[in-house]
């Protein structure tokens, strides 16, 4: 006899049990991060009859052929790519927003306007001590606001660099982890549940790494992955069981550069690229703010030198420092303001030097310059916000299509649960039948 009803039924019950286990595993992991829905492939076990017994029924039941991981490499690649782009946009946008806040909330524009206003107010009575004092007070407010903006920019830069450095560390840890997963994948049996879990882990690590920088991946048949970081050109990062080292370096102007194993690397996308772009923007913004601050200091101090103070002596500088961060007021009292032209008597109400100062300030127009800087930053923020929301939509839809393809649908699992439960019960009935047949045979001749 080539077939054994009991063992066929037992193998069916075993297969149904395995299918129920897989279903339960899917349900349990319905909301696990990076979990890809498993499905079972069950195949028939059969053998041909021996020599001369070809007509015999020769059936051996069913067995679990493979635990399949329903992952789509293309969709996963899309999720990595789009989430990298989104990360880049997020980091750049939040950096720019912080710069905008630093510039806008410090009120440096208002302070420049106030300074213009008190100078104009002084012109109606250039010897009035309270108006003179107001000019000096407003000048020091102006210097303070420039300092506050500069330290706000410092904080934005520090934050961006701190995050980027933490991410570089993370990327190195992920690289080492990927190398370990690669090693374990070479040892895992094909189609095993262990292998499926490793592949889950591999894809999850790749996705996290893709959030930092653009990736070039190539997958081997055994599931191991070789990863290169960056673009133009990509630098090899993980190869088999070995991982490279990602490093970052800060330039004098605060911008970041990256290298893999000492070779310069451009991230291309991901949060590292975002940080790099935001820091470049910050450096140019700082430069523009410094130019405005230095321009105001120069214009005011030059005009001061051309006139005489209230006591008839040559005007002394009001401001010291040449950058937004170092601008400060060195004049101690309003009497030092050189409103009168050179040669005027002490206490003169002649305001022609004050007028000259106001005219050169109007020509420099720091308020308009700052307005321009603010406009540039805010329009960049607005533009990036549009890009970011578009990338967000793209990344979300890529993720949703991946989840639809690889995620767990509880309704399907509920149906599977019933289906495999019934299969199990049916195999149990078959075993019952085998037992009945055996009893019948035993009962013959009683």
């Amino acid at each position: 006899m080539a077939s054994d009803l009991l063992s066929i039924a037992a193998s069916g019950a075993r297969a149904a049990r395995s299918a129920l286990d897989v279903t339960a595993q899917n349900i349990a992991n319905a909301s696990s991060d990076g979990y890809v829905r498993r499905s079972l492939r069950i195949e028939e076990v059969s053998a041909s009859g021996g020599a001369g017994r070809i007509g015999d029924i020769s059936l051996s039941g069913a067995r679990v052929a493979e635990i399949r991981r329903n992952a789509d490499a293309f969709l996963q690649g899309e999720v990595r790519r789009t989430s990298g782009d989104l990360q880049r946009a997020n980091v750049e946008l939040s950096g720019l927003q912080n710069m905008e806040s630093a510039l806008e909330q410090s009120g440096v524009f208002t302070a420049v306007v106030e300074f213009e206003a008190v100078l104009q107010q002084l012109s109606s009575d250039p010897v009035d001590p309270s108006r003179r004092a107001a000019v000096v007070a407003e000048a020091s407010t102006l210097a303070n606001k420039f300092n506050i903006t500069a330290s706000g920019f410092d904080a934005v830069g520090d934050g961006l660099r701190f995050d980027a450095e933490a991410e570089v560390n993370d990327a190195n840890i992920i690289g080492a982890e990927l190398a370990r997963v690669n090693l374990r994948l070479t040892r895992a049996g094909s189609g095993s549940s262990d292998r499926a879990a490793l592949l889950d882990q591999r894809d999850q690590l790749l996705e996290r790494l893709g959030g930092f920088s653009s990736l070039t991946t190539s997958f081997a048949a055994d599931g191991t992955v070789a990863v290169s970081l960056g673009s133009n050109p990509p630098r090899s990062f993980v190869q088999g069981g070995t991982a490279g080292t990602l490093t970052s370096a800060t330039a004098a102007d605060g911008t970041l550069s990256f290298a893999v194993d000492g070779q310069a690397m451009t991230p291309g996308s991901g949060s590292l690229e975002g940080a790099s772009l935001a820091l470049t923007e910050l450096a140019s913004l700082r430069q523009r703010l410094d130019t405005v601050a230095a321009g105001i200091a120069d214009t005011v101090n030059n005009a001061q030198a051309a006139g005489v103070a209230l006591d008839g002596t040559q005007g002394q500088p009001i401001f010291a420092g040449t950058t937004a961060g170092t601008l400060r007021v060195v004049m101690t009292g309003g009497a030092g303001l050189a409103t009168a032209p050179a040669g005027a008597a002490a206490g003169s109400r002649d305001d022609s030097n004050l007028n000259a100062l106001r005219q050169s300030l109007t020509a420099l127009d720091p308020a308009q310059q700052l307005n321009g800087v603010l406009f540039d930053v805010s329009s960049k923020v607005a533009g990036r916000a549009v890009t970011q929301s578009a990338l967000d939509t793209i990344a979300t839809s890529a993720r949703i299509s991946l989840e639809q393809q690889s995620g767990v649908d509880l309704d399907t699992e509920a149906a599977n649960l019933i289906r495999f439960q019934q299969a199990f019960q049916a195999s149990g009935r078959a075993m019952q039948a085998a037992s009945d047949i055996f009893d019948t045979l035993l009962g013959i001749g009683r």
């Binding site: 806040s101 806008e104 109606s124 010897v127 003169s348 639809q404 649908d409 509920a414």
Partner: protein, 303 residues
Amino acid sequence: MINLSTGAFYERSTSQIGTLRAKAESLQQQIGTGERLERSSDDPVAAARLRMLARNERISTVDTRNSELAEADLTLTDETLGSIADVVVRVRELAVQAASSTLSDAQRSVIGTEVASLRDNLVLLANSRNISGHALLGGQASGAAYADNGNGIEFVGSGALTPVEIGEGQSVMPGLTGPEVFEFDTANGATDLFAVLGNFAAALSAGGDAAAQASSAVLSDLDAGLEKVTTAQTVIGSRLNWVDLMSERREINSERVADERTQVGGADIAVAMSRLQETLTVLEASQASFVRLANLSLFSMLR
């Protein structure tokens, strides 16, 4: 078969509801603050325009302040000129009186004393101060405009005035200098009111025929002086008109600026309210349908 992943359903639902909530909150903020722009990047062009409008408004308040000061100075000058004219008119009355041949030397001497004291009044008037405490007619100098140098009253101020800006690049001279009020030409060359009054008082106290002659002779000088003072009053009056005109313009301008501010940066409450209502309706519907859909699981059917 499309696999409707449970995770994807929750992710999509939460992101949709989150977007709606964020939209409702932004509308709520617009209604609460009355400002359409929360930060510059909400509308960079409008924000830049708003900043420049705010700057104009700020400068315009200084213009208003300056123009008020100029107006006060001009009004003070006008009043002072009125008092000066009164003094000159009084001296002219006295001169007419003194010219009468019926008066005795003693009576002329009394008139001379009054003229001398009127001259002292004139010096005080010439040195009156503006509201900042500077000599009203002293030009750019700080301190007195006229001083007694021992042999007469002399102008010690400066001959130039500082114009005051009153907006839109316009300015006004907030007063006059002493020479513009007191100095004038007569048939006998340039002189000023102080000298005329001083000499007249001296001639009256000296007495004799010369006193009566001086009384008739001084009349033409006084007329010329009075004309100079009234001319100065006319100038001040026209400057006051100019300041008034510019104040009106500034007011109209500030209304225009305020109007533009509302147009560029103000929230349209009616639109914002109805959009908020719309968003809230959609939000409530999505929340209700989310709960219904989330409960719709095959597991709840299994017994």
